[in-house]
């Protein structure tokens, strides 16, 4: 069944789009993270222009996180103070992101920036997660990698020395507001430019750097994702005007249904298997972009931009 997307100005099959949204929802329900790193590339592979794909992917990411955010909030598994600082940083990062996004789009470098970022980000995070999950698999009693909290560690000492130390009650950590804000800023910036939620980076950062307990981290990140993704969507709608509401809506419906299926399927997997599977998935998408960069292209030429002038 064809569906004409008014901003993308192409016609795609409705069920293809529902399926894409659903796949992202399943990943999100299964692993507890957004799945945007999967959605934006898939949208580009089916022919949606990169700016429209990035601008329209944030809402399905937010939608699949809403369910998780609501149920975690009800179980008191959200540190709202921590989330608020992350979101404040995220708004700032998204604001800086839209300036960068528009600048690169005007210069015609957006597609390359997106491809390179996907390779480096997904590649490094994927490899890190793979090593970590393999280690945990082979020797389950080993302590997880992370910032050593002993006073000798320079990074831990630096974070401790920063001003505005704040006790986050629910998360049971006392830490300066600055690194949390910077973390939120970075995730907001990356999220807007690449059309991803960034949970796959934020969750490890909060666990290993800030030492937020596992029980609180996912709920807090989901609250952060919903609001940061809302901010990036609004900025894209107003400044780049590349948000395709029809595309976003179909993806949202698919992802909400998929998230439920994923959450139900999640009961059949173990924690280590989870992380291993997610690492493979992230690495796979990163590799897909990487292969494009290193192999001799079948066609050296490509049409990157079409604009009606009259």
């Amino acid at each position: 069944m064809p569906l004409y997307l008014p901003i993308a100005e192409i016609s795609l099959n409705l069920f293809t789009l529902l399926f894409l949204g659903g796949a992202v929802g399943v990943v999100s329900g299964l692993f507890g993270v957004g799945g945007g790193f999967l959605l934006t590339p898939l949208l580009m592979f089916v022919g949606i222009p990169a700016p429209v794909a990035v601008a329209s992917a944030s809402l399905p990411i937010a939608a699949s996180a809403i369910t998780g955010a609501l149920s975690h909030a009800r179980r008191n598994a959200v540190d709202f103070e921590l989330a608020a600082v992350l979101i404040a940083g995220g708004f700032g990062g998204a604001g800086a992101g839209i300036v960068f996004f528009e600048w690169m789009r005007k210069l015609g470098h957006l597609d390359l920036i997106i491809a390179l970022s996907y390779v480096t980000l997904l590649g490094s995070v994927g490899v890190g997660m793979l090593i970590e999950s393999l280690r945990a698999w082979l020797s389950p009693n080993l302590a997880p990698i992370g910032v050593n909290p002993s006073p000798q560690n320079p990074l831990a000492r630096l974070i401790r020395a920063l001003p505005w130390q704040h006790p986050f009650k629910r998360a049971h950590v006392t830490i300066s507001l600055l690194p949390i804000f910077v973390l939120g800023f970075a995730i907001g910036f990356i999220g807007l430019v690449l059309g991803i939620g960034g949970a796959f980076m934020l969750i490890p950062a909060l666990i290993y750097l800030v030492r937020v307990p596992l029980g609180v981290v996912v709920g807090t990140v989901q609250v952060q994702i919903v609001l940061t993704m809302f901010a990036t969507t609004l900025l894209q709608a107003v400044f780049s005007q590349q948000l395709d509401i029809l595309l976003a809506f179909v993806l949202v419906v698919g992802s909400v249904i998929g998230a439920q299926l994923g959450a139900r399927a999640a009961r059949f997997f173990s924690g280590i298997g989870f992380r291993f599977g997610l690492a493979l998935l992230i690495l796979g998408v990163g590799l897909r972009f990487g292969i494009d960069l290193v192999t001799h292209p079948a066609d050296r030429y490509s049409v990157t931009h079409i604009e009606v002038t009259r």
């Binding site: 015609g108 976003a248 001799h296």
Partner: protein
Amino acid sequence: MRAWLCLLWGVLMLTAAHAEEVVLTLSTREVAITTNYDGATLTAFGLIERDAATIARSGGYDIVVQVEGPRGTIVLHRKGAFGPLWLTQKRQIFEDTPLFLALLSSRPLSLISDEDVRARLGLGLHYRMGKQPAPLDPGFVSALQRLRREQGALLEDDKAVSMIRPNVFAARLALPANAPPGFYILRASVLSEGVPLKTAEAGFIVRKIGFDAYLTTNARQNPWRYGLMALLLTALVGGLGHFLFRRD
């Protein structure tokens, strides 16, 4: 000398035989893009009018129909090896280029007329691709034609025109879904034995109507409201999903 020749030609045209007249009409003047739009098919009908004074043609008529869509800017990138990486090395901006071109005829153009006549009438996709600034890489020009052909924006069909009667023709245009909204002009040239006789024009418009037009207008003119509407919809669907599938 040249002026004299022109005058002579004009006098000849007035006094000697009348040339054919062509009446052209389209099956539709407006292609409406709605939510389930997946391209459209248009038919142009033409009547070749003759009167008693029209000179007799021993051969039949040949019809060439050109369809030109809205013009715009196309950017092409070329990748090159940068160490082990293949990165975009060069780009070429094609300005004021038709974003849709179709060439419809009843038989291959090379059989209809010779190169000079085709060049003069601009019959051929390469004549219509727009004039570009001088230092132009020929690789980009051929890549533009090849890629736009692959995208369906350049069409050549030498079986799209049929003669219903010896002096009535029908040209069928299959407009792909990615042909941009805007004004399209259709030029039908009538030739006989390689000689151009008459060209008639007709236009049609492709535009979004109804829901799609409403969304596009809002996205451009009320971006804040459009964005907030998207957020509200997402919150509603997400919340609805949460309460429908609630397990705790």
